[in-house]
C-alpha cells in the first residue's frame, strides 16, 4: 500500500480521498456544487470569515468545550483489568455545546457560507434530530427560513427534538419513503435542493455527500481535535495514546481525528453501530458493506448483490445510516484508523455506566464510543491515555433508553 507523507492533505481537487468521495450528483446540482466549492475556497482564505466563525463558536456555541479526565470511570474499568492495566479515560465534552452536540460547529460554518453566497432558504436532513436542532437554531439566529427533512420513523423516536426544531421556527417535513430514516431524509433533501437550487442552501450534517461537503464539514468540525490536542498537551504535556469516536456518517470522529492524523504515536478507533449484531441488522457500513455510490459520494455502503441499499439499524437514530463519510473509507483502507463496532446492548450498558460513574448522561451515539472504550481500556497500561469524543448529550434519548430498559416514564 502506498502510504502518503501526510494523512492531512486529502481530498484532491476533485474531492477524491483515494478511490472514495467525488461528486456523484445529478447535472442540475453540478453547477451549484462547483460554485459552492469556489465559495468555500474563498471563505477559507478570508480572515473575516474565520473571525466570524470563531466568534460565534466562542460566544454562541460556548467553545472551547472542556477536556475532562473521567477518573471514576477509569477506576471502574481498572477494577476489571489485570494489575498495571486500565488506561486513563478522558472526554472531549462537545455534549456541552449549545444545542447539545457537536453538530452546531458545522452548522455555524455552513450558514455563514450560505449567507456569503446570497442564499435565502436553508434545508437539512436529520436522523436523531441533533443536526436538525442545530440547523434550526442557526437559522433562527440569522433569520433564515428552514425546512428539516426527517424520516417518519425517526420522528416517532425523537419527539423532543422534533418539538425543539418547531420551537426554533423550523418546518419539519416527515419523510414516508423507504425505511423512513436518515437515508430517506437525505434523498428528500436532495429532491428539494434540485428543485430550488436558485435560492436554497443545503446544510448537510455529516462529513459525507458530494465534494466539497466531506472536506468542508471536516474542516468545521476539526475545531474539536484542534482544541483537544492543545488542551491535552497543556494538561498532561503529552498526546493521547488512542482517540475513540462513534461513527454514523462520521463527522464527530473526523473532527476529532483529523488534527492528530500525522501524530504517528496516536492510535485512532472509529466505532460503528452493530445494532442487533454484525450477523443481524446493523448500521456498520465498513464492517459489513462494500464500496459504492450514494448521496453524492463513493464510499462503503450497506448493500446487496445488485447494489440496492440495505436498511441500517441502530438503537441510535444518529448512527442509523447505510453509508459512511468517504474520508473514513480511505483511512480504513490505508490502515491509519482502526474501525470497530458496538451493539445496541453494548451502547445501553455504556450509557448507564457513564451515568453512574461520572454523572453524565451521554447521547446513544457516543455511548457506542464509550462501549469501545470500556473494552480497550482494559488492554492498555494504566499510564496510557484514551481520549473519547463525548459528542452529544442524552436528554433526547431518555425515552428510547427507558423503553429499551422496560421502564415506563
Amino acid at each position: 500500500m502506498n502510504v502518503p507523507n501526510s494523512f492531512r492533505t486529502q481530498p484532491d481537487e476533485r474531492g477524491h480521498f483515494g478511490q472514495f468521495g467525488g461528486r456523484f450528483v445529478a447535472e442540475t446540482l453540478m453547477p451549484l456544487i462547483l460554485d459552492l466549492d469556489r465559495e468555500y475556497r474563498a471563505a477559507k482564505a478570508d480572515p473575516a470569515f474565520k473571525a466570524e466563525f470563531e466568534d460565534l463558536l466562542e460566544h454562541y456555541v460556548g467553545r472551547p468545550s472542556p477536556l475532562y479526565h473521567a477518573e471514576r470511570l477509569s477506576a471502574a474499568l481498572r477494577e476489571g483489568a489485570e494489575p498495571g492495566m486500565g488506561a486513563q479515560v478522558w472526554f472531549k465534552r462537545d455534549e456541552l455545546n449549545h444545542t447539545g452536540a457537536h453538530k452546531i460547529n458545522n452548522c455555524i460554518g455552513q450558514i455563514l457560507l450560505a449567507i456569503r453566497m446570497g442564499k435565502t432558504r436553508i434545508i437539512a436532513e436529520t436522523g436523531a434530530g441533533q443536526h436538525g436542532v442545530a440547523t434550526a437554531a442557526v437559522c433562527a439566529r440569522f433569520g433564515l427560513p428552514c425546512v428539516i427533512y426527517m424520516g417518519a420513523r425517526d420522528i416517532e423516536r425523537q419527539q423532543p427534538n422534533v418539538f425543539r426544531m418547531k420551537l426554533l421556527g423550523a418546518e419539519v417535513r416527515p419523510v414516508e419513503s423507504g425505511a423512513k430514516t436518515l437515508s430517506d431524509a437525505m434523498n428528500e433533501g436532495l429532491r428539494d435542493w434540485v428543485a430550488n437550487v436558485h435560492d436554497t442552501f443545503y446544510i448537510i450534517g455529516t462529513a459525507a455527500g458530494p465534494h466539497p461537503y466531506p472536506e468542508m464539514v471536516r474542516d468545521f468540525q476539526s475545531v474539536i481535535g484542534r482544541e483537544a490536542r492543545a488542551q491535552m498537551l497543556a494538561r498532561t504535556g503529552r498526546l493521547p495514546d488512542m482517540l475513540v469516536a462513534a461513527i454514523g456518517g462520521g463527522s464527530n470522529a473526523i473532527g476529532l481525528f483529523h488534527p492528530f492524523l500525522d501524530d504517528a504515536e496516536v492510535a485512532m478507533l472509529g466505532v460503528e453501530a452493530a445494532g442487533h449484531g454484525l450477523d443481524r441488522e446493523h448500521a456498520a457500513s465498513l464492517a459489513g458493506g462494500f464500496p459504492g455510490v450514494l448521496h453524492g459520494n463513493k464510499t462503503y455502503l450497506l448493500q446487496d448483490e445488485d447494489g440496492q441499499i440495505a436498511e441500517g439499524h441502530s438503537i441510535s437514530a444518529g448512527l442509523d445510516y447505510p453509508g459512511i463519510g468517504p474520508e473514513h473509507a480511505w483511512l480504513r483502507d490505508i490502515g491509519r484508523v482502526e474501525y470497530d463496532s458496538a451493539t445496541d446492548q453494548d451502547a445501553l450498558d455504556a450509557f448507564q455506566l457513564l451515568c453512574r460513574t461520572e454523572g453524565i448522561i451521554p447521547a446513544l451515539e457516543p455511548a457506542h464510543a464509550i462501549a469501545a472504550v470500556t473494552r480497550r481500556a482494559k488492554t492498555m497500561r494504566d499510564d496510557q491515555v484514551i481520549l473519547a469524543n463525548l459528542c452529544g448529550r442524552g436528554d433526547k434519548d431518555i425515552f428510547t433508553v427507558a423503553s429499551a430498559l422496560g421502564v415506563a416514564i
Binding site: 456523484f24 445529478a26 437515508s183 434523498n187 428543485a195 455510490v293 455502503l301 447494489g307
Partner: protein, 268 residues
C-alpha cells in the same frame, strides 16, 4: 449499436422516447409493456433500472421503483428483459436509465459488457456527471454503448462543453430544475434552451421532465429532435398493473400521432 439510435432520430418527425421502470409491476409483466410502447409508436425505449434511493425522481417513479423491487427484480432480470426486447424488436433502440450504484456494483466493465450483450444502445446514469465520467464512461464507450448525458436549465454555456465531451447517442435536456414527473417548463424557455444546445452539438436533442399531454409533446416536437415521456406512462402502469399494455398503447399512440403531425405543421 448506436446506429439504431441515430436512425431513430433521423426520421421526418421528432423521436418519441418512452420510459418505464423495469420490473414494474413484475419482471414478467415488463416485456408486454415494452411491446405496447412500440405498438403505440415509441421510437426509443428508456428502460428504468429500479433503485432503493432514487433521489432525482418524483413520487410516480419512486413508487414504480418500490413496486419493482418488492416484486424481486434483479439486475439480471433487467438485462434479460432488454435481451428479449432486442430479439423481438431488432431495430428499436433501447437505453437503460438509472443510478450509479446498481450499475457499478460488480464493476463498470462487467456492467457495460452485460448491457452490450443484451442489445442495449445507450445508458443514462443520473448521478454520474461528466466530472466523474471515469467511473462508467470509458467502459460504456469500449463496449460500443452510448453514454447519454443530461443537460439542465442550470447547465450554462461555460459548462456545456464539459457535458458534451464524451457524450453519445443523444443529449437529454431536462427542462426543469427539479425531480421527475411534477411540472413542465414554460414552452418559451424550452425553445431557447433547445436552440442553444443545438448550436453546441451535432447530437440530437431530446426534451423531457413533466411532459404529459399530446399538445405538450407536439409543442416540443416542433423544436426538438425528441420528446421524452416517463411519469405519465408509469402512472398508467401503476393504475392497470399487468393489464397496462392496452391503455399504454392507446396513450402512447396519442403522443406519437401528435409528435408526427407536429413536424408536418412546420413543413406545411
Amino acid at each position: 449499436m448506436t446506429t439504431r439510435l441515430a436512425a431513430a432520430f433521423a426520421q421526418d418527425h421528432a423521436a418519441l422516447v418512452c420510459f418505464v421502470t423495469a420490473g414494474d409491476p413484475t419482471p414478467a409483466a415488463t416485456p408486454a409493456i415494452l411491446d405496447a410502447l412500440v405498438a403505440g409508436g415509441a421510437d426509443v425505449i428508456e428502460l428504468g433500472m429500479p433503485f432503493t434511493d432514487p433521489m432525482a425522481d418524483g413520487p410516480a417513479i419512486q413508487n414504480a421503483n418500490i413496486r419493482s423491487l418488492a416484486a424481486g427484480t434483479r439486475t439480471t432480470d433487467i438485462l434479460s428483459i432488454a435481451a428479449g426486447f432486442r430479439s423481438r424488436h431488432p431495430n428499436v433502440p433501447l437505453v437503460l436509465m438509472g443510478y450509479a450504484n446498481p450499475m457499478l456494483r460488480h464493476g463498470s466493465a462487467a456492467f457495460a459488457r452485460a448491457a452490450a450483450d443484451s442489445g442495449v444502445d445507450g445508458v443514462i446514469c443520473v448521478d454520474i456527471p461528466p466530472e466523474e465520467d471515469d467511473a462508467l464512461g470509458p467502459a460504456l464507450r469500449a463496449a460500443g454503448i452510448a453514454p447519454i448525458r443530461l443537460a439542465t436549465p442550470t447547465t450554462d454555456a461555460a459548462r456545456l462543453p464539459a457535458v458534451l465531451d464524451g457524450a453519445g447517442g443523444f443529449l437529454y435536456y431536462v427542462s426543469v430544475a427539479g425531480i421527475t414527473g411534477l411540472q413542465q417548463a414554460q414552452q418559451s424557455s424550452i425553445e431557447d434552451a433547445v436552440a442553444r444546445l443545438m448550436d453546441a452539438t451535432d447530437l440530437p436533442v431530446a426534451v423531457g421532465f413533466g411532459v404529459r399531454t399530446p399538445d405538450q409533446a407536439a409543442a416540443i416536437a416542433r423544436v426538438a429532435d425528441g420528446v421524452v415521456v416517463g411519469s405519465a406512462i408509469v402512472e398508467i402502469v401503476a393504475a392497470h398493473g399487468a393489464d397496462a399494455p392496452g391503455p399504454v398503447t392507446t396513450y402512447v399512440r396519442s403522443l406519437a400521432d401528435a409528435v408526427a403531425s407536429a413536424r408536418k405543421v412546420v413543413a406545411a
